[in-house]
């Protein structure tokens, strides 16, 4: 990503795969690529990508009749983000700058500029946040509408085909996400033109305060999660099925083997705090604050960041050398 102009090429940088279909003048026609926490490729389909390319050519032909090039902006790469530039002065520019590092750098800059708010974490919301899902094979078609959701209250139905959002032709899920991303987390509206039974209809989905928020599990796939605070200061993988069996733990029990305690980076105090509480490498975390229903280590990590507050303490139940140990850890900012 080192040379990518961030004023032109915008997409959900947390994704491992993303496609832009655009005009050389900088107009983005369509995007392809999205996901949820259940898998990296569950929202992708080869048939849908082929269809996007076919329909996208039609978008290009229509645009060529009355082009409206975007106002050119100065070229801006990740290396032009002052917070990232300052960081790489201390260390060095990584050989490979990953896409997700752009989100991290922009957040770091927003913190430096004092423009960061906790709502800044709710990026690229899926249509399910508004109450509808799209057909993976035909991604402009609504697959489901959740009862009682904003989409349901608007009158959207399964089978409706979304033709445009806020007046712009859309063909894919991230095309719609682009416009959802621009609706305030405190509430707003999205105008959709849909087709039902061959007839066009206009709908306005009203989105209430907090509509962008998702739980720790739904957020846990985002690399962006690791930048959020507070941080427990330790982490590691789950135990294998054999390891659980040897320790007499249920096969579906949550476990996290403490493989590392943070001693590096911007916040080594997180690791010192964990050590001070009595956490050691090799400990097995069984529960925290009386909870243990996490599906993965990253689910726990996201839960900690979303639900714990600096100044509180959290009780942890650990297994050490086959015996249960309880520790209380302060949560630090």
């Amino acid at each position: 990503m080192a040379t990518v102009d961030l004023n032109v090429y915008r997409f959900d940088f947390d994704l491992t795969f993303s496609v832009l279909l655009m005009n050389a003048d900088g107009t983005i026609y369509h995007r392809y690529g999205s996901r949820d926490h259940t898998s990296a490729d569950g929202h992708l389909s080869q048939a849908a990508l082929v269809q996007l390319l076919r329909d996208g050519v039609a978008t290009h032909e229509a645009y060529a009749k009355s082009p409206r090039p975007p106002k050119p902006l100065p070229r801006r790469t990740i290396l032009d983000i002052p917070a990232f530039a300052a960081r790489t002065k201390k260390t060095k520019v990584p050989d490979c700058i990953h896409c997700h590092m752009v989100h991290d750098a922009e957040r770091e800059q927003a913190i430096s500029d004092r423009t960061w708010t906790p709502d800044g974490r709710w990026i690229w919301p899926l249509p399910s946040q508004a109450g509808f899902t799209l057909d993976v094979e035909s991604p402009a078609r609504i697959a489901t509408v959740r009862k009682g959701s904003p989409a349901d209250r608007t009158g959207l139905r399964a089978g409706d085909v979304v033709r445009s959002a806020n007046g712009t032709r859309v063909l894919t899920e991230p095309d719609i996400q682009w416009f959802l991303d621009r609706v305030d987390a405190k509430g707003g509206a999205l105008k959709l033109e849909i087709e039902r039974g061959g007839e066009p209809r206009s709908m306005t989905v009203t989105l209430p305060k907090g509509w962008k928020e998702v739980g720790p599990l739904e957020y846990s796939w985002r690399p962006f999660m690791w930048q959020l605070r507070p941080n427990p200061g330790f982490g590691g993988p789950p135990l294998s099925a054999d390891e659980k069996k040897k320790l007499g733990l249920a096969a579906d029990a949550f476990t996290l083997k403490v493989q590392y305690i943070i001693e590096w980076g911007d916040h080594p105090e997180d690791g010192r705090n964990a050590k001070k509480a009595g956490i050691r490498k090799g400990d097995i975390l069984l529960s925290a604050a009386g909870q243990s229903d996490w599906q993965s280590s990253v689910h726990f990590q996201t839960w900690f960041r979303f639900t714990r507050r600096a100044g509180e303490s959290v009780d942890l139940r650990l297994l050490r050398d086959g015996r249960e140990v309880k520790v209380r850890m302060d949560v630090i900012p």
Partner: protein, 53 residues
């Protein structure tokens, strides 16, 4: 696995376009060489398809 498979999926999706007139085919670029591809797309009046992975 996803990182390996998805670019292949994108390339497979492009195959049908090899049969279309050149002006209708999107010019293809990986994120690493997109500015050259963008210049090519501009001179040929073609849409540009970029794959980031």
């Amino acid at each position: 696995m996803t990182r390996r498979l998805l670019p292949a999926l994108a390339l497979a999706a492009l195959l049908p376009f090899s049969l279309r007139p050149a002006a209708e085919e999107p010019a293809f670029a990986w994120q690493d060489d997109l500015e050259a591809a963008r210049a090519r797309a501009k001179s040929e009046g073609r849409p540009l398809l970029i794959v980031f992975r």
